[in-house]
Subunit: 354 residues, 2 copies
């Protein structure tokens, strides 16, 4: 089944409102979630409703939460998410960072007491669309990654996003977990009955494995980007620690290594970080965008190793997916569709997806 983006988004908003989220917050949250699905980031859109439902029922997430400003200055702010979902605090945070960058050249906003905020790229893109360089990081709830050389999970997928304005409609937009792959790619291999490539997962003893169920069922771990020590996985590990320092260290959210991580009375207490920077601090107007466009053009003109797979820049694959799904609708696989039907019925809202 595939539905047009508006219907897809309305389904998400219906459920969030039925769960007690005020309408303005539900409109903002559903927009971010539907954006992820439209752009092919299926792991961070409507599929997350099943996870949010679990947290909500466990009393770990206040659907009526209001985000508030704790500190505020010319180049910075600290927000408290109020123990609710992360999308609205994240939009508020990046919007504040953008305002400060327009006024002062740079804005940095830290958010604590938040939760999952969907796709990092949405917020970095806000900066690029405002003519600014944007950087976004967030800490994670699920601990499933062993530090390089380690045999115990200590970190999450710890993503970062970076965006910069270039040619109109072609900003550079890097949105990446600091692990080799996200858990969804392992699930795909499992569903195909296929091994995964070496370097994606480790056994519980920290040894290489090609079993896609290793992390989910057998006590193993996802690997940091690099895959193995000889592939320089200490770099992916280092980037994950950087992400935690920026997201939790600056905001004061609970550290991923704290025994109280995701267990504190106030809720998940995930932290985020948002930076916006005006390139016109350094360049004449338009010069930076022209350089990003020239760099992007030159890179995507690189002869490909496989003629069927042209070289792209970060953001291109998601833009192509959005064009296709905007025309043909956003597909939802049968298993997820059944779960969403149950959620909609339990919430007492119409089921719009099939």
């Amino acid at each position: 089944m595939a539905q047009m983006p508006d219907i897809h988004r309305q389904q998400i908003a219906d459920i969030l409102i039925a769960w007690g989220m005020p309408e303005p917050e539900a409109a903002q949250t559903s927009e971010v979630m539907a954006w992820a699905d439209l752009h092919g980031i299926d792991s961070h859109g409507i599929s997350m409703l099943t996870v949010y439902d679990r947290h909500r029922r466990a009393g770990r997430m206040d659907m009526a939460a209001q985000c508030r400003t704790v500190r505020d200055g010319p180049v910075h702010a600290l927000l408290d998410g109020g123990g609710g979902l992360g999308h609205v605090p994240a939009r508020t945070g990046m919007a504040l960072a953008i305002d400060k960058a327009h006024a002062s050249g740079i804005g940095a906003v830290a958010v604590r007491n938040s939760a999952h905020f969907g796709a990092c790229g949405f917020y970095a893109l806000m900066a690029a669309q405002a003519g600014l360089v944007g950087l976004v990081t967030t800490s994670a709830a699920t601990i499933q990654v062993a530090p390089a050389g380690g045999a115990a999970a200590r970190l999450g997928t710890d993503p970062l996003a970076f965006a910069a304005p270039g040619a109109p409609d072609r900003p550079f937009l890097l949105d990446m977990a600091t692990t080799t792959v996200a858990a969804g790619k392992l699930r795909n291999r499992e569903n195909e009955g296929a091994d995964c490539p070496p370097g994606w997962v480790l056994t519980a003893d920290g040894q290489p494995s090609v079993d896609p169920t290793e992390a989910r069922e057998k006590g193993g771990y996802l690997t940091s980007l690099g895959g193995a020590l000889e592939g320089s996985s200490y770099k992916g590990y280092g980037l994950a620690v950087m992400v935690n320092i920026l997201s939790s260290g600056l905001s004061g959210a609970t550290l991923v290594t704290d025994p109280q991580h995701t267990k504190k009375p106030q809720g998940m207490d995930i932290g985020h970080f948002f930076l916006a920077l005006d390139p016109d601090l350094f360049r004449e107007p338009g010069a930076f965008e022209a350089d990003v466009a020239a760099l992007s053009d030159a890179l995507s003109a690189t002869p490909p190793a496989d003629p069927a797979q042209p070289v792209m820049i970060a953001g291109d694959p998601e833009r192509a997916r959005a064009a296709e799904r905007g025309a043909n609708g956003i597909p939802v696989a049968p298993g997820l569709l059944a779960k969403l039907r149950e959620i909609a019925e339990a919430a007492g809202v119409p089921f719009r997806l099939g």
Copy 2:
């Protein structure tokens, strides 16, 4: 041969002064270069004199260059390196960023018209030692990396460094090329007559190879972090583009993809970027440092996969090496020693290393 750090540094300064660098700049530059060697970053210390000598003789580097400020404001500055070596512009840049962060909370400094500046980590560490979070990026002169999925070199090793203050004497300090490995690790394999692991290099056609001479002699390329498309090398590639956008896009230095890259009349025209951010914008004094220390302690207490190789945090291996070399001296391998002797003789300065 191993010499104590002071003698090692003096040798570097002697040569730089003989090449026409004023004494204050030679003192600053030799300190950065000797720091790299002391910390085991041998690829970025005294060994670079052979490269600098080549650029200098080719008229690509003005040893008497003076760095000047082009733009300046409460949170930003733009510097012009004057077509000389990068160490002094980089120290000046990070020192300015630190001053601005102390006064305004954040400082961002871009540098153009510079050249190789040694180890990124030195400058990020300056921020951590001043109680700040530091981020450093630089563009590169040598083009040797193919974009993910590409079959032509378009990028450099494009490094970044990130530092944060933690426990006294144990700041977090990540300093990484965005390639899987640096060229030096391939040379080591070649010297041993050994293959390299899959994922380090590609052939000229963009196919995987385990031949350590592939990039240097056969028209092949280094890989981006991730090693191959199935290891998510598009992430290392994306980080490399981010580094170029920050380093050259913001400063206006020549893009790595510009036909005039390293060929412009004014010199190499490499760009750098420096960011310093005060954690006390968001936290009570000491709280951030305590969190970084707790995170570091918890991570390095992870049970190791190999009991002989404890888990570390970024910065630990280099600190251990500095302690050892500080006591026993900095070794220089025979081949390099012979080249340095020639350079010292040609410069008419005493040879102090053996």
